[in-house]
Amino acid sequence: MRVLTGADVEQAIRTSGGARVHVELPAKFKAGDRVVARNLHPLGHTRLPRYARGRRGVIDRDHGVFIFPDAHAAGAGQKPQHVYAVRFSLRELWGPEASERDCVLIDLWDDYLDPA
């Protein structure tokens, strides 16, 4: 077991890794692809917001490969996969009374998405 001592704090904070994984993996989607967020309701941790489930959006850009939080939180390893900024119109998320011109960009993992 590691123990953090006072002298090591600064270095440890500076170098502690993010969630990006440096491996080459095929992407399921590319910018411009139409997608639908899966209607998932896992009992464990997820970063797919409830308000986006079942909603249709467009891949805005591919951020690269990252740890999949749902698996990682469950102690099931990193399950690395592509994460995309997905653009949803406000009307798709909040109905016909929402602003017509605005949108929400949500970072979503491959496992949250199906082609639409």
Binding site: R2, V9, H41, P42, G44, H45, P49, P69, H72, A73
Partner: protein, 109 residues
């Protein structure tokens, strides 16, 4: 999980009012809760997603009635107990001790 943490789209919380010159911590215990959480993370016994998941385990009504660092403290206590670093009775005993100290100070003043 479909918990109280997934707030997007919920009504009834009132306006978001940004604080002028907002301090990083509003109370000294928040600074300590933050530091202990990060230091404990370096034990390598859990990852950041497990930390977030642990915070989400707070009962929904309690979650909505408590603050950000109260969520952090709840999650940390849960992980420390789960991994066997501390027993729930030890946390309870410490809370009781601090309560007694505070009551003592209040009686003196």
């Amino acid at each position: 999980m479909n918990g109280a943490h997934d707030l997007g789209g919920m009504h009834g919380f009132g306006p978001v009012e940004p604080e002028r010159d907002e301090p990083v911590f509003h109370h000294e215990w928040e600074r300590r809760a933050f530091a202990i959480t990060l230091a404990s993370g370096f034990l390598g016994q859990w990852n950041i997603d497990m930390s977030r998941s642990a915070r989400e385990q707070m009962p929904a009504a309690e979650y909505l009635a408590t603050t950000y660092y109260e969520h952090w403290l709840f999650g940390l206590e849960r992980l420390l107990v789960e991994k066997g670093f501390v027993k729930p009775e030890e946390i309870e005993a410490r809370v009781a001790e601090l309560r007694r100290q505070r009551a003592g100070r209040a009686a003196e003043s």
